[in-house]
Structures are given as structure tokens and as C-alpha cells.
Symmetry: C2
Subunit: 217 residues, 2 copies
């Protein structure tokens, strides 16, 4: 059994691991947990002893199979509670996260499954993030290309079609990774290029070829 704090670390590590290519250093984890790096070093020791993570100076922190299972379970509960708060209690999507943080640590093996059933087995939370099912599997995200998204819509990167180094490097340069949120601002009729907003800040124009190689949901 893990403490609330340990669970929050696992969740944080899981979250950081969604942006691959970035290794999870004590400093990165400290920033994401809003604690001092010294505290993180202590916790890394503890979670390593409990076989929930592996830590290698060069590779950074990685969840073990068990650690990953626990983290996914917390994420599942978090997102299900978000759906509950939004769908049943009428909360807006910007509020649900903080409340769900408090509900996600409830321990009772059946609870998440009952809640899931009650909510009608939702696949995505109010932010569009996928909800792991009872087996920890994420819903298969439809193979929609960025190029098919209409102007004004928001979506989220789920995968890349072209996996060449040059494309991945380009993505990195644009700070686009798995789960990055994109908003299509405008589609240029002339050549199919798109003006998109990446995350919260940067607005960029990308080519038709670019948009045809990025899967979104």
C-alpha cells in the first residue's frame, strides 16, 4: 500500500513520461511536484525500495510494471471523477481537475468500476484526455489526421504517422509531443497549410504535409 504522497509522485512520473524524449530527472520531478529536489531524492529512494520505479543517473526515473499499474489506476480514477463532476454535478472543465485530485486517492477496488459503469463507460474526460479502462488500457484513439480538423477546433496529438528523425526533430523544435493540445486557427485554402496554436502560447503555420502526418483526437 502506498501513501497519498507516494501516489502523487507516481502520478507525476506517469504524467512526465507521456512526453517521451524528455528524461525524468529529480529536478524535473521536483518542479512538477512543487517540492525541493532534495525531497525528490528521498522519495526516489523510497519508491525504488518499493520496486515502483527504477532510477538510473543517465536514463532518469522510469515506472516499473507495478508502478505503472498503480499510476494508471490513479489516472483512471482522476478522470472518471472529472467526468462525474462535469456531467453529473455540472462543474465546468476548468474546475474539475482540482476537485478530482482530492477524490482520486479513494481506495476501494470496486469503486472505480462502479463509477465507470454509472457514468456509462466514458472514454475521455472533460479535457479530452483518455480514460484507462478497468484493465489499464487506453481507448484506441481514432486515426484522425490534423489535416482533417476544422478551423476553430481544438485537438490533442495522439501519435505521429511519419516517424522519421527529421519530422520528430521538427516536432521537438515546435514543442509538439504526444498529448500536446493544438487549436486550428485557420486553414489556408491555397496550399492546405494551417495556422495552429500549440499549447497555450505559440502560434505557428505548418504545412499540409505536416498536418497529414500527425494523428490527433
Amino acid at each position: 500500500m502506498q501513501s497519498l504522497t507516494e501516489e502523487n509522485y507516481l502520478k507525476s512520473i506517469y504524467g512526465l513520461a507521456q512526453k517521451p524524449a524528455e528524461k525524468i530527472t529529480p529536478t524535473a520531478l521536483a518542479a512538477s511536484m512543487c517540492v525541493n529536489a532534495a525531497s525528490v531524492v528521498d522519495m526516489i529512494k523510497k519508491l525504488t525500495d518499493k520496486k515502483l520505479i527504477n532510477y538510473d543517473k543517465h536514463k532518469g526515473v522510469k515506472l516499473t510494471t507495478l508502478g505503472s499499474k498503480i499510476a494508471i489506476d490513479i489516472v483512471r480514477k482522476h478522470r472518471l471523477w472529472e467526468v462525474f463532476l462535469a456531467d453529473k454535478l455540472g462543474y465546468s472543465w476548468d474546475v474539475v481537475h482540482d476537485i478530482a485530485e482530492q477524490l482520486e486517492h479513494t481506495k476501494h477496488q470496486e469503486l472505480a468500476n462502479r463509477l465507470d459503469k454509472f457514468l456509462g463507460y466514458p472514454e475521455f474526460d472533460p479535457h479530452g484526455d483518455p480514460i484507462p479502462n478497468a484493465h489499464g488500457q487506453l481507448p484506441a484513439t481514432a486515426n484522425v489526421l490534423l489535416s482533417e480538423i476544422e478551423a476553430g477546433k481544438t485537438c490533442q496529438v495522439t501519435a505521429v504517422k511519419d516517424t522519421s528523425a527529421v519530422f520528430l526533430q521538427y516536432l521537438e523544435q515546435l514543442s509538439v509531443g504526444i498529448r500536446t493540445k493544438l487549436k486550428v486557427i485557420e486553414k489556408i485554402a491555397f496550399d492546405g497549410s494551417m495556422i495552429i496554436q500549440i499549447g497555450k502560447a505559440n502560434r505557428t503555420t505548418v504545412s499540409k504535409k505536416f498536418a497529414e502526418n500527425l494523428f490527433v483526437a
Copy 2:
């Protein structure tokens, strides 16, 4: 803001205060919290400093107005979550308590009210315990006498009609107090006496006169 532990102490004190006449000593509180009396003494100091309780060697522990408000709020949340778990997720009444213990500490001023509305403003939880409303008021419990309860039904003592010392002493002797749960096993047609189960264990026969002097809900 109080910690989770502080909240649990307040809740426990509130619960013990429901059985009046019994003063809340450090030992009683220790038993109810399943901790050592020494720990309770520490917490009494802390809660006193925070002006949530008053402690007098002779009168025992009492909640201040503020402490009482907080305790009632936790009880409200606890019981609302119990209703949610039973009504919406199909849990049986013997399971909901432990899960609700984990949900009751969720902090968000509006949450309880939204949940209350969603559940249709229930007045009693699955155990028959009254749910405080948004203003901390308990629902007016109907003036039903034990004698009016049908065989097989379970109810809970809400008040006494006859307040004479002999009656109260008799109640004490039977371990019947406010909030004690009673189950009517059988009603004897001949003289109106009743076989009732008191709490979990004792089964006793009580007279018609007895049953006509106890209010239940």
C-alpha cells in the same frame, strides 16, 4: 484550515457528543479514535489553540461554535456521499461507511451542495442517520413512536416522550440512548409488548408503555 487528522478528531467529538450525559474524556476520545490517550492530549491542545474545542478537566471536551460547524459539515459530506454510493453506485449500506470516510474530507465549498442537489436533497443516509442541510440544520425528525413501528422494521431512537428519571434509568439499563438502533422483532398481540433488538446484540421484550414513550425515526 484543518488537517485530515484534525477533521477526524472533530468528527469523533461530534459523534460522542450525540450521546449526551456522557462527558468526552481524553480516554473516551482515544478509544473512539483508536489511538493512545497521550496522542489525544496533544491534539486537545492543538484544537484548543485553534479555538475549535474547549476542554475542562471536569466537563470534558466540547466543540466551540466554529468546531461544531466544521464537524457538522464533515458529517453532512459523509452522509451525502453515503447516499451517493448506495443510491447511484448500488453499494449496500454496510459498505458505504468506509468509502464515505475517504470522500468526506474533500474541500470545495460548493461540492456538498451540488452533490446534495444531484441526490435530490436527501434527509437521511442509508443508515437512517439525518443529513444536515446546507445551513447545518438537521431535518426535523417525525414524531413516530416505537409502538407504531411494524415488526421487521429497523428504526433509531430520536427522543423520549416520558422524561422521568425512572424511565431514563431504565433506558440506560437497556443501553438505549439517542441514536440507538432498534429492530422490532415481534409484536405481541395480547398486551402490545414488543420483542426488540437493541443495537447489534441484546434482544429484549419491552412493554407497550415503554414503546409508547420512545420517539424513533
